[in-house]
């Protein structure tokens, strides 16, 4: 029985699975979070104060309780309710809701950015409410919030590393397991850091470029 074995080419597939799992859960959470955030952001921008208060308090909890604790609580809780979920399912549900909470504010700002008068102008051109939404409010409003959207999306990619605590074999947990087996933390950690950097750096640069372009 050999306890410690150095990194080898056999581990490529294992690492690749970790990388794919990270990408998979991030893309899923960002997509679901964006769609839900868009809907709730819209509801928040048109509804009355009392509804907003209720919605806001719920979203607050998602934003204010540390993600790591949300993950532990949720995966324990669904278990106790008698509906055990695999780490991937619990992880993507919580990560999506967490994303949604932030996206809601992003999109709400987008809807608020498009002034009321622009909507009224569109209506006076004979557009229906939904047409004005579809052709005026959404394109203009959404374009203006693109940089903030990108910011949230990037933080979700990074925060997806936390899903490792409930046992999902994403990149960080994969590398942790390899560190245990190889006792070579530095090499492995640097590789992991480089991966996140390669994904995140071009996107954040692009986001900032768009922000500058739109500011002009």
């Amino acid at each position: 029985m050999s306890l410690f074995t150095p990194l080898s080419w056999n581990d490529t597939g294992f690492i690749l699975t970790g990388i794919l799992n990270t990408i998979y859960i991030s893309v899923l959470a960002i997509s679901v979070g964006t769609v839900l955030g868009l809907m709730i952001g819209f509801i928040r921008s048109v509804s009355t104060q009392s509804i907003n208060f209720v919605l806001g308090s719920i979203l607050d909890v998602l934003r204010i309780v540390p993600l790591i604790i949300q993950l532990i609580l949720f995966s324990t809780f669904v278990g106790i309710m008698g509906h055990p979920l695999p780490p991937f399912a619990s992880g993507s549900i919580i990560l999506s809701l967490y994303t949604m909470a932030f996206m809601t504010e992003v999109f709400r700002a987008g809807f608020d950015n498009v002034s009321k008068s622009m909507g009224i102008a569109a209506r006076s051109l004979g557009m229906t409410y939904w047409q004005s939404m579809r052709y005026i409010v959404l394109p203009i409003g959404m374009k203006s919030v693109f940089p903030s959207w990108m910011g949230v999306a990037l933080s979700v990619i990074k925060d997806s590393a936390l899903v490792s605590v409930i046992g999902y074999m994403e990149l960080l947990r994969t590398s942790e397991q390899l560190i245990t087996r190889t006792q070579q933390p530095l090499e492995i950690l640097l590789g992991v850091g480089l991966f996140y950097f390669i994904i995140s750096y071009p996107l954040s640069t692009f986001g900032r470029y768009m922000e500058k372009k739109m500011a002009i």
């Binding site: 540390p66 960080l172 850091g193």
Partner: protein
């Protein structure tokens, strides 16, 4: 609710230890924020300067801090540096990682703040006979801090929440302490519900006091 019975008594008995953990959370967040501000100001000045070396150090610091997960940085500070024989305690590792990230984000915030201050103000303060340092101290920085007050509040909240990653290097902040306590009795749900509530209260309290402070400091003009 299945056949799960909640046991709350044991959590209340352990409450003083959790409060202790919350205290550690708060002070690691405060320290990382202060040192983050110091480094952030230096880096922002470095980034806006025309000198090549400070500029490139500042940009790489900022990019690495912003584009890698905090969890990775904590591991790096703990086991990564350990490979070089640099041994930080869990507390120091978390403090360093949070400082590193905080300063990375604050640099951009400060730079944005600096850029909004018109060039003429520098010229005006020099023409009043102020030195460069005095101009920064009395004219530029106070205005900048006013503009970056809310982003800074958010960064502080972020520090409180992210210090929860201390659980992964065995640090005794609120999450780590909760993890320890729950493993003695396996009352995971009860303990973490209370921990979540404590984070909520702490964060709300910080937001509330930041709001009051801003009214005192800036009298509403931001």
């Amino acid at each position: 609710m299945g056949d799960y019975e909640f046991h709350w008594l044991i959590v209340f008995q352990a409450f003083p230890q959790m409060l202790n953990g919350a205290f550690v959370t708060l002070h690691v967040a405060v320290f990382s924020m202060f040192s983050g501000i110091v480094f952030g100001v230096l880096l922002a000045i470095g980034k806006t300067s025309n000198l090549k070396i400070p500029k490139s150090i500042a940009s790489s610091w900022v990019e690495v801090a912003r584009n890698t997960p905090a969890l990775f940085q904590i591991y790096m500070a703990y086991f990564g540096l350990g490979a070089f024989g640099i041994h930080l305690s869990p507390y120091m590792a978390v403090l360093c990682a949070l400082t590193f990230v905080n300063s990375g984000y604050l640099t951009e915030t400060f730079r944005g703040g600096l850029q909004t201050i018109p060039r003429t103000q520098y010229v005006a303060s020099w023409s009043l006979g102020m030195t460069k340092f005095q101009a920064y101290r009395y004219i530029i920085l106070p205005q900048m801090f006013r503009r970056v007050y809310y982003p800074m509040t958010n960064q502080f909240i972020w520090s409180i929440l992210m210090s929860s990653l201390g659980i992964l290097v065995g640090m005794g902040e609120l999450s780590g302490e909760t993890q320890r306590l729950q493993s003695l009795s396996y009352r995971t749900l009860e303990f973490f519900i209370i921990a979540a509530a404590m984070y909520y209260v702490m964060t709300k309290f910080v937001l509330y006091s930041a709001d009051i402070m801003s009214r005192r400091l800036f009298k509403g003009e931001i």
